[in-house]
């Protein structure tokens, strides 16, 4: 083969592969917009309009008494398998020289029974933890099959029908909010489980089970698109913090009176 024909071959091959690439790129666009009953253009959830809501969450660590009722309610509402937690309570006991002792016996499901630390405690408090429903969620970014996503109203969910259980999201979440149960008796075993912000409740105007269960108002749901929402007002007017802001995950969970020891 002479040089000219080789050049010709490469030119044609490049053209052809470019054409294929264009074809592949255009392919999915047409399909994704295919007609579907009900949902075209509007809300996918019937009467509930997800464009009208943007959820956030406020955790008041000063109010929390560590009763663990939220953990219990979450488990009952969502059939959370034993030994795993969609929300949990951490207890911090910090000594006068700054040493922190952190525990969370059974996630706080049964409450806390004894003090842990025997050194002189300078300050001690409880911190409820859960999925932060981040706007720039690392868990969604790493999902290789499009099974993790964030809804328009600000909730990070898992499509457990399509999750392949690779566990990338579990590793990607800096807050430890996801888990993969391997017990075959668990519904959707070997797929990622996480807090759904009780999507089945909030889309009906109910509060998440953890918020409804809290006897001291330490956990509250805010709707950032409702300008009369008192919890939204607290988030925008009071001094609140998010966990690990340096990771730029843009959490939707805000903490009031967050201590520097809490990550």
């Amino acid at each position: 083969m002479d040089n000219v024909s080789r050049r010709e071959f490469i030119r044609k091959a490049a053209l052809a592969s470019g054409g294929c690439a264009v074809f592949l790129l255009l392919g999915p666009g047409g399909k994704g917009n295919a007609a579907q009953p009900g949902a075209e253009g509007g809300s996918p959830l019937g009467d509930y309009d997800w464009e009208q809501h943007q959820y956030a969450y406020l955790i008041d660590t000063v109010k929390c008494i560590g009763c663990g009722m939220c953990v219990k309610a979450c488990k009952a509402e969502n059939n959370v398998p034993d030994g795993f937690f969609r929300t949990w309570i951490e207890r911090y006991e910090i000594s006068e020289d700054g040493e922190a002792e952190v525990d969370s016996p059974n996630g706080g499901l049964d409450g806390f029974e004894e003090n842990v630390s025997h050194v002189k405690i300078a300050k001690a408090f409880f911190v409820p933890k859960m999925c932060n429903h981040c706007a720039a969620s690392p868990c969604v970014q790493v999902c290789p099959v499009g099974a993790s996503y964030r809804t328009k109203d600000g909730v990070v969910l898992v499509d457990q029908e399509h999750c392949v259980g690779c566990g990338y999201c579990v590793q990607a979440c800096p807050y430890g909010s996801r888990f993969i149960p391997h017990d075959e008796n668990t519904p959707y075993a070997r797929t990622a489980h996480k807090c759904t912000l009780c999507y089945h409740r909030i889309t009906k105007g109910l509060k998440p089970a953890c918020v409804a269960a809290c006897p001291v108002g330490a956990r509250q749901l805010a709707d950032m698109k409702d300008q009369f929402d008192p919890v939204r007002k607290r988030i925008i007017t009071e001094r609140v913090a998010v966990l690990q802001p340096e990771l730029l995950t843009e959490p939707s969970c805000y903490y009031s009176a967050l201590d520097k020891e809490v990550r």
């Binding site: 052809a16 560590g66 009763c67 009952a76 509402e77 499509d159």
Partner: protein, 159 residues
């Protein structure tokens, strides 16, 4: 000679075309129908999440049958504690407005009360907390699972 090469090139492209067509056909079956409508996910998963069973009914649902308890509860210091915190979720007891099972009984009242009232260091001081063992002893009683109820009505505790 040139004609011979053309044939080979043609075959290669034909094969490539066949592979692409096969991949596109496989894609139609592999990608869920509603995938990509709102983002890089299956849109029909949203109503699946929204349709899950609501298991906690809230105090109002309890009051439909236990109005007397609600009146008693609403007038006391435990008004902020939802019924389903100490008892169980509504779904364990009622389905479609009909009783399906007894509410599970609380095994240890002492532990239940202690969840909120045990005098832990981490528990804030402006909340009523108590050393349960010492308190029971001071009252001249024996520590047992139901001992708190001997003096305190959980639905309407004395301040």
């Amino acid at each position: 000679m040139a004609i011979e090469h053309k044939k080979h090139v043609f075959r290669i492209f034909l094969l490539l075309g066949a592979v692409i067509v096969a991949a596109l056909i496989a894609r139609i079956f592999a990608v869920p129908e509603t995938f990509g409508r709102y983002g890089h996910y299956r849109a029909s998963n949203l109503p699946e999440h929204a349709a899950r069973e609501v298991r906690h009914g809230g105090n109002e649902s309890c009051a439909k049958c236990h109005a007397d308890k609600k009146t008693e509860h609403d007038g006391g210091g435990h008004v902020a504690v939802p019924c389903e915190d100490c008892h169980d979720a509504l779904a364990a007891h009622v389905k479609d407005g009909k009783k399906t099972a007894d509410m599970p009984r609380v095994k240890s009242v002492t532990r239940l009360c202690g969840r909120c009232h045990r005098d832990l260091i981490a528990r804030r001081d402006d909340f009523p907390k108590i050393n349960i063992e010492k308190h029971v002893k001071d009252q001249g009683a024996e520590l047992s699972d139901q001992v708190c109820f001997d003096c305190h009505n959980p639905h309407n505790p004395a301040p």
